[in-house]
């Protein structure tokens, strides 16, 4: 009988569960009772639409047809797969990829072994981008107030706008984008600012890294960014961190970290500690995981900083605190501490101070000048924009690759006060439905652009195919606002970098521009002692996190990502509220029970999911679901929790009536009951006898509790 379990009902030996499990199809009864019928699912996956221009070229002949090209390809005899370099841009940062083509069209994303951001790996989102390219719900043409338009009408409209904006020196002209590292985009906006001095460039990224930026500003006076060198790290401490799942450079960090994890493949196995309120991939990868909610963290992190930088010995800390500090000090110059974007700026500043005190700078990490173009505080930038919109001070608004109507409460209402608004997006969005103009964007695989990796390396994006539909790129649109000529994105990108023919060719062939890595900065740490704000007391603390696969919701129409089981909950097609076992116990919740979570005046009712390993007072709401305008796959899937981001008041949680059926694969395809341990694991001295022995199992069990008495260094 294995001690390894997959779901809480299995563990509790809930008699109803046992009865269902013995019938081997535990979800069947629930599934049959679910209101969504198969027809509904089929509607979701309706028969393929014939794509304009891609519809079968078959003229009905039995046995099919053969269609050779008119002219042969020059210089090559086409005989198989070809790979072309480009990048997958997530959160503005580039992960270099190669796209594999078959029969002349892109079909698969592969990693680029030469690219510093990944050294050949890819993320789930990077792999799924190819599905977005072929998505039948992509924007196909220009729409103005719901009516299709010819492109000439856009040219006319923009010409009129140019005139109006010029007259006001750009007062009232605003551009809103997400986080971007594109040198070309930045250059174009700077050029626009030359022409319209009073225009403003706003930024909004719902999955906010404002605290990271603000923390760097506190600590160094500049928005420097971290480049971790995990190959040199012997001791890693992560605090509510996204180091391995979505931080810029996460693919590279995961690779460097993993290279030192297998003691038979490396001489120096590293050690990782994680302190976090809710399980993350980084926490699972750690050797020791300590659970601490935001209130605990607000106490522990300053104490840790005091202990590490000042040698103090704070009282009233958990049992693992002292051994952790001892371990950090023992690995001076070989350790690295990382905090995630959900932690407040003060925590980031303290982490910077600790890293400097531990001597890691230059060894285990470097600081570089901001890779993000023109970094600003996003929340302030958006608030300013919304205030100006409400105040009638915005006359022309360009929204590029952003969906603020869905992700920013209050934006939709303010949008009504803007005279002319344009959204550039490659698929249906809530914002596109409300702005004056809905401009179809080319997919990232269809046009030229550029972006920078986490370490500053410039990556050129080259088209992998001719545009499937009518679409334009942001570079084209911005150039149109500067002057009447219609530009070619390739020329614009080429102009930004000033590469000669050979360098341009090499950049496209290798997927990166050589020598553009940002050199480490020598900025000095400021002697600040920021106070970490103590979160409000209460029974329940609400954490709002991006969904691991949909992020802020932009991938909601990607069926692969919707159906990909989330790493820890194994949920698909849904985003229940993740509640801790303690809260579930208190409110008598089981998976699927409806709850209402309220933040201030705003409440959302959604099902609950019990998350083992979560801090006792925490609930986690996942962003990115509940979209109302996104295409047939993502429409109405899940629950929209963005309204909760607007609340400031006390958090409350109540059980509501009813249950929802959730599709989690955690109980699917279970291996045999009597198998012993399914996953073998151990600790270094026992590495020779990995077969589960009772001694081994006992020691492992001790390791899973937060108090590691007797198992830690120095103890």
């Amino acid at each position: 009988m294995s001690r390894q379990w997959r779901g809480l009902d299995r563990l509790s030996r809930d008699p109803a569960f046992v009865a269902r499990a013995s019938a081997e199809f535990p979800q069947l009864a629930a599934a049959l009772a679910a209101p969504r019928d198969r027809r509904g699912v089929l509607k979701l996956m309706a028969a393929g639409l014939a794509l304009a221009g891609l519809g079968g070229c078959d003229d009905g002949a039995p046995g099919g047809v053969l269609i050779p090209p008119v002219l042969p390809p020059t210089d090559t005899v086409f005989s198989g797969n070809q790979m072309f370099a480009t990048a997958s841009v997530v959160g503005g940062y580039a992960n270099g990829i190669l796209v594999r083509h078959a029969n002349g069209r892109p079909i698969k994303v592969e990693g680029n072994p030469l690219h510093p951001a990944s050294l050949g790996g890819t993320s789930a989102i990077g792999q799924a981008e190819i599905l977005g390219f072929y998505d039948p719900d992509r924007s196909r043409g220009l729409i103005r107030k719901g009516e299709p338009q010819a492109w000439s009408s856009l040219l006319t409209a923009v010409a009129a706008q140019r005139e109006a904006i010029r007259q006001s020196h750009g007062q009232g002209f605003r551009v809103l984008t997400g986080s971007t590292t594109s040198p070309t985009l930045a250059r174009q906006i700077a050029a626009l600012k030359q022409v319209y001095p009073d225009m403003q460039w706003h930024r909004w990224e719902p999955v906010s890294r404002d605290a990271v930026r603000a923390g760097a500003l506190l600590a160094y006076g500049q928005p420097v960014e971290l480049v971790a060198k995990l190959g040199a790290v012997d001791l890693l401490l992560t605090i509510d961190s996204d180091l391995f799942d979505s931080a810029p450079g996460h693919l590279r960090f995961a690779r460097d970290f993993a290279a030192r994890r297998n003691p038979t493949r490396t001489d120096r196995m590293n050690r990782a500690y994680a302190i976090e309120p809710t399980p993350t991939l980084t926490g699972v990868a750690a050797d020791h995981r300590f659970i601490a909610g935001p209130r605990d963290l607000a106490r522990i992190v300053p104490a840790l900083a005091a202990a590490v930088t000042g040698g103090e010995q704070p009282a009233d800390m958990p049992a693992w605190f002292a051994p952790l500090v001892a371990d950090l000090k023992a690995t001076r110059g070989r350790s690295f501490i990382h905090a995630g974007p959900a932690q407040p700026a003060a925590v980031h500043a303290l982490v910077h101070a600790m890293n400097e005190a531990l001597g890691g700078r230059g060894q285990t990490y470097d600081l570089i000048a901001s890779v993000e173009a023109d970094p600003v505080d996003h929340a302030a930038s958006l608030r300013g924009l919304i205030d100006d919109m409400n105040g009638g001070r915005v006359t022309t608004l360009l929204i590029i690759d952003s969906n603020p109507v869905f992700t920013a409460p209050g934006f939709g209402e303010a949008l009504g006060r803007v005279a002319v608004s344009m959204t550039l997006t490659d698929g249906p969005t809530e914002t596109g439905a409300k702005t004056t103009w809905n401009l179809p964007a080319r997919h990232g695989f269809e046009d030229w652009s550029d972006a920078r990796a986490y370490d500053g390396t410039v990556t050129l994006l080259q088209p992998q195919a001719r545009p499937l539909y009518d679409g334009i790129s942001p570079h084209y649109l911005l150039a149109l606002f500067a002057g009447p000529e219609e530009v070619n994105s390739r020329d614009v990108v080429r102009q930004t970098h000033g590469l000669n023919e050979q360098q341009w060719h090499d950049a496209l062939a290798t997927g990166l521009v050589a020598g553009t890595r940002t050199a480490p900065s020598d900025v000095a740490l400021k002697p600040v002692q920021p106070a970490v704000p103590m979160p409000a007391a209460g029974d329940v603390t609400l954490l709002i996190r991006p969904d691991p696969h949909l992020l802020d919701g932009r991938y909601a129409n990607n069926a692969w990502l919707q159906e990909l089981p989330r790493p820890l909950t194994k949920l698909t097609w849904d985003n229940p509220l993740l509640v801790s076992p303690a809260i579930a116990e208190r409110l008598k919740l089981t998976n699927g029970d409806q709850v209402t979570v309220a933040n201030g005046g705003v409440g959302v009712t959604l099902p609950a999911w019990i998350m083992p390993g979560q801090a006792p007072d925490c609930v986690v709401a996942l962003l990115g679901f509940g979209r109302s305008d996104v295409g047939m796959v993502g429409q109405g899937v899940g629950f929209d929790v963005y309204p909760l981001t607007a609340g400031r008041g006390p958090v409350s949680l109540h059980k509501a009536d009813g249950r929802a059926v959730l599709a989690s694969t955690e109980h699917h395809d279970p291996l045999f009951e009597d198998a012993g341990d399914y996953v073998h694991h151990g600790t270094p001295p026992h590495s020779r006898q990995i077969r589960p022995s009772s001694a081994n199992q006992r020691s492992n069990r001790r390791n899973t509790t937060a108090s590691l008495a007797g198992r830690l260094p120095g103890a």
Partner: protein
């Protein structure tokens, strides 16, 4: 009581049963035999094309090598069809006004490809690779027949799985010396190396060619 059935009914019943049995056997025979006919397999059917291309004229008559048009037969899974450009290398200078070649000229002029109807095709779950067959000494004629004698292209072999397995089970007798693969006049003579020697030369026989994974993916 009078008899229900007349004496003739016996004969009727017997004939009826024999007829039924005959029908059943005949039906089963037809069911088995019909898919195996050359008719159903479209063997020797002339397929109508937009341009009635004659292999006989171009290969026997003009002596053009297979690879002039089917360029990727040695390097790719598919042999390749010639782009319009290839046709126009000659037909921009000869037969320049022929009505038969009008679609070719239009294709080049309008930049729209020519659409050829497939004569030789295999089901989608079969993954045939020309490159390896050429590399191992299988001549074009083994599967495509005597193309040089066809005024209009037709399918000359059944190309069923049985046809493929007949060779895969014992490839050696079907191999040609390397220089003879594209030679339409080649026949085995006394001087031709024996099948065993050819198999040795091509390293055929190392791999079990009747594994399902050889052709099906």
């Amino acid at each position: 009581m009078p008899a229900i059935f007349s004496p003739e009914a016996n004969l009727t019943a017997k004939l009826g049963l024999i007829g039924l049995a005959g029908l059943l056997l005949g039906g089963m025979g037809w069911w088995w035999l019909w898919p195996r006919t050359e008719y159903v397999r479209h063997n020797h059917w002339f397929v109508e094309q937009k341009v009635p291309f004659s292999h006989q004229h171009h290969v026997s008559g003009l002596g053009i090598d297979c690879r002039f048009c089917h360029m990727t037969v040695e390097t790719a899974a598919t042999a390749g069809m010639p782009p319009t450009y290839t046709c126009m290398t000659c037909h921009s200078q000869i037969w320049t006004n022929a009505a038969m070649l009008a679609p070719v000229r239009e294709s080049l002029a309008n930049n729209t490809p020519l659409i050829w109807r497939r004569v030789t095709d295999l089901p989608d779950y079969v993954y045939f690779n020309h490159k390896i067959h050429i590399a191992k000494g299988v001549g074009c004629e083994s599967c495509h027949g005597t193309m040089q004698d066809m005024p209009l292209t037709q399918k000359a072999r059944t190309l069923t799985m049985g046809f493929c397995l007949d060779c895969h089970r014992d490839p050696a007798p079907n191999l040609r010396p390397p220089e003879a693969i594209y030679n339409t006049e080649w026949h085995r003579t006394a001087d031709t190396p024996s099948p065993a020697v050819l198999a040795q030369l091509y390293h055929v026989g190392d791999r079990k060619l009747t594994d399902c994974s050889i052709c099906h993916r």
